[in-house]
Assembly symmetry: D3
Homo-oligomer: 246 residues x 6
């Protein structure tokens, strides 16, 4: 079973973080996972959503996810053209928001909302995981900027978060599938973990061929290894940016 890029089953694609890619947001990163690239930006907006009660001490974090039309081999019409967000994008942006909120003590945001915008530049599989992982870095950069500007009293981010996809290909688990692999795979599982080794989200889907308990265990193990590597790369990116490297 040879992978399109000769990777071993347990290897990630090359990962890059280009920090500060967009100028205006408090934090921004262009993450690359192989040929998948997602622009992640975190903006700070005063106030909280209307559904929060006036006495709620928390701030909030919400995420939006969209693909640029040119991100896929065949141009994908903008969701704006239809006037409605697609079910897929809606599902993904809810996942990204939940994943990032799991890293935060929201009460420390002091009445502000963080908007996390994930816009896919190039889509080659794993865009939702790249969005979570890139946004994890953009979020930390934004909070560092807020802290430096005196907008935070206490550091609100209690842990890192990252995500990776795993799949079953020919019955064998493989890590971080590119689009060609994803189309062939029997199972597609997205795993989101925090740096204290716990799951935030586990989403396994098997429309083609269901999977048994043993396969699930092997996929989770593979995912854990990949995410640990992502935590290390995220740390390097944040430290590089703090040290003034793009």
């Amino acid at each position: 079973m040879v992978r399109p890029d000769q990777r071993r089953p347990e290897h990630l694609r090359p990962v890059t973080f280009q920090t500060g890619f967009q100028k205006a947001p408090a934090g921004s990163v262009l993450i690359g996972m192989g040929n998948t690239r997602v622009l992640c930006a975190v903006s700070v907006v005063e106030g909280v959503p209307r559904w929060m009660k006036p006495d709620d001490p928390r701030g909030w974090l919400t995420a939006e996810y969209q693909m640029l039309p040119g991100a896929t081999a065949d141009r994908a019409p903008r969701e704006l053209t239809r006037g409605q967000i697609s079910g897929r994008s809606s599902e993904i942006q809810r996942l990204v928001g939940r994943s990032l909120r799991a890293t935060l003590d929201l009460t420390r945001l002091r009445g502000r909302t963080l908007y996390v915008d994930c816009d896919v530049i190039d889509a080659d599989g794993g865009t939702r995981c790249a969005a979570v992982t890139g946004a994890g870095v953009a979020l930390e950069l934004a909070l560092l900027k807020m802290l430096a500007a005196g907008a935070l009293r206490d550091w609100p981010m209690t842990r890192q978060v990252a995500a990776v996809s795993v799949g079953l290909s020919g019955g064998e688990p493989v890590l971080d599938l590119c689009y060609a692999e994803d189309c062939q795979a029997d199972v597609d599982m997205n795993v989101v973990m925090t740096s204290n080794g716990q799951f935030v989200e586990v989403q396994g889907t098997a429309e083609q061929a269901p999977f048994d308990r043993a396969q699930m265990d092997r996929m989770l193990t593979l995912a854990e290894g990949g995410i640990r590597e992502l935590f290390r790369l995220q740390r390097e990116a944040v430290e590089g940016a703090a040290a003034g490297r793009p």
Copy 2:
């Protein structure tokens, strides 16, 4: 840790299937799981979605999920009022569709689309799982009717499908949470399985407090037990309906 209805952690709520509840659809069931009730109906429509290529030999199955406004303690405005399906409903109906398609050999539907409508009458937690489990019965009834009418050549449903929620409450896994438990739980996991003992979907979400690998294992074990019980009850319901009992 006492549950609101004194159930043991590994017990389902009482489950009922009222078959033939709606007159026009090929198959329909009003499923009750405790105080949660969902009307599941399967209608047969000639033709397949436009995105399917002309030479695709498959039929299709698609699902829609909505809550009636009076299903919740506080009346919930119809999504039609806003003109857009909510992210939550969109996510759920995609889950229901994938789960049911996993039971079918779509090539045997012979150019037809099955519409699965899941409308929540009363919502007391676990509506998406009730929708999958009820729709599993409505689907089998619809196919039996099609078979009797000569609309099918070969039986397309290769296995049963059912779903249940599990959660972590005070660190301990509990099965089939009602709404009050769901609000308190740290983790909310929905598990969809087929009757050959494999997973179709595993969706664990832990916005409040992430969960570790051991907890995940215990939750999956609990879910498997519950779903096996649901398979038995589904069989009784289908056989009862075939024998002319509502």
Copy 3:
């Protein structure tokens, strides 16, 4: 001229009221008129619509009407799919709202809005009349519950309201048309009356063959008789529910 179910021209179809069908709303009824079944629920919401002036002493009542997709022989796409309520549903829910408001002294609602949700389970003609008649019962049940809970000072419902359809079939007036009759009829008239013998709405439509004054008179007489019977059945349903019978 034989009717599909051998009814005499002046006879209603069998009418049933299943009270308390839905758990959360203050009042709810599943009304059956022959094979037509409509779930009517009345929910109480604090506050009044924004268009009401701050010094308006009235509460308000508003209605919504939708058909479940499986209510008709051919599955009808949800209006949500198109993103807009249909002209037909809009017209019907305005009729239901006006009809029920005609029974109320709105000033006695004390700043609350009653939402009347009418969802058609099975459609076999006369759904708007069933909606008015069922909602009339659900409204009374909701008000009784509010009264018992101390939410009302004075009883606001000054009379009953019910509705029935009449038509001209082969030049002869017939009462309470089922769908097959409705399709054949030259005229379709919906009559809404209050229990003091007055009309709230008379809507006669004759796209196929207009009707003269004498025919109109005969149709109104037929409708009056049918509605009086409905008043009696409504009273039984409310009293049965008060006595604890479903």
Copy 4:
């Protein structure tokens, strides 16, 4: 009981028809009923709606109704701003369409659709009746033009149609209410008749104070008289236009 303009209860407001007001449509009329003015235009479009079956021998007629923002004392926002047609406009345009179709043998339209556009310039009560009455003239002018152009083989309009409002004011029936009267009236009834003396639509609504059978009879008699006068004025307008008078 004195009316704002000293009219007797059974008198219409002054009625004017300015034919050919708009240049492009096959027929167009600016009708004035007192201070209410509605621009009615009939355009001919090849083809029929998609819901008509291919073997349906009929053409079709459909109507649209909108108010210009400046038609009312307080500027009314365009329905386009909200992105949805209002329930009221939807109801009215369905009424106009049904009323005009009742005058036609649709099979003689030979595969064409007539669009009837009713745009209210000034609204002072009775706009839907003015729309029907004006459109009745515009339709006849359009058909005459089609006939002259050889687009019709047989004359399809078998009778005239006109409409008027009646109401109960202080318990007494009055004809053709202006806006100030309409606001005060207990009952608002719109009556649409054809020139062979039959009803197409009777829509009586009594949110404030229901009406009894005797009152209904008196209102219908008043309406019949008014509509007969409208038929006479429509004839003059069509003949004047045929003779080249605007």
Copy 5:
């Protein structure tokens, strides 16, 4: 190069202003420029748009532009049918709003918003220029009425505004193109000027054949002459209306 109506290149079409055409708005004009006719109405609404800061001393003026379906040779579907304003209409109403705001000292509107509604009755080219020119008159009439009613302390309109189209036809500049000319022209330029001889908007578009600097100069000269004539006709219309002539 003969024009369809034998006009000389530098001549306007006949221009008419029917003031007070619509009853309710503070100012209204039906402008005719040849066969193009646009109903322009200015309504006064208390309050300013939400995007204006509370301490902004200005009132506001906003414009809306729509074509009636029957304005064009082939009936144009309402933009409401699609649920969205078209790019063209959006562009035009922004142009009209900017043009009229350029004549006003907005601080003198004292917390009010003027709505300028431009509805095209007949479209034969140049509708956006007719809208600006007609709305210029309707605005002055509305302000005169506000002044008379004591709603203004100081006169806010510091100059007139009018607009005309110019084009290149066979390489030669022509003024005020009708639709037939517009379709043939290589360049379509709309020029908006104020009565102190300055440009508010210059919009030249040349999809077919770009134009050089010398041609642009000649077009601007032609436009200036036409607009000066429009200023004179606007003055006559306002003075006529003030003197009680329609």
Copy 6:
């Protein structure tokens, strides 16, 4: 009058073209004009828009323009959230489409549609001009790729196109305004030219302070100079990309 970045009035900001930025589209460029950055991508889609007649020998080119939410100092909500494209974006994308079509012989596209997607990464004034200028390069790259792939018989691009903004600041014309200058300027003019020295679009807007003919002349002269420089830089970018430089 010193500019924020000390530029002379007739100088452009630094211009950069990063070709091949996005992988899937036939041509893509990330253009930078000072701190403004726009991702321009050209995708090839088989078929032409539905409004084109079957016998029309042309292909087509259409453009879409959106700003990423993080492009501006204050995060701008996505237009998708409101469900409608804004008037501003609609106006800009129409401008971009017209400008690029002016460079093409559409009959040589042989039944294909080119989609030009312009997504603003960073907005610091002049985004529509950057979009035109960047898209001009992306278009040429896309056509070169089509030519190499044998998808074109004849070269369809007959000239270059580029755009620049000019403004009046303190009565003096300045070239290529950044956002801070744009906010202060009395006049904002966008000029689109082709490489044979002709105008495609001239759009001057002067809400604040109208401009006279002499000022307009000076602005056009400034724009011509800037655009000639842009043509030179576009040529370098295309040649660099052809030579394999990013």
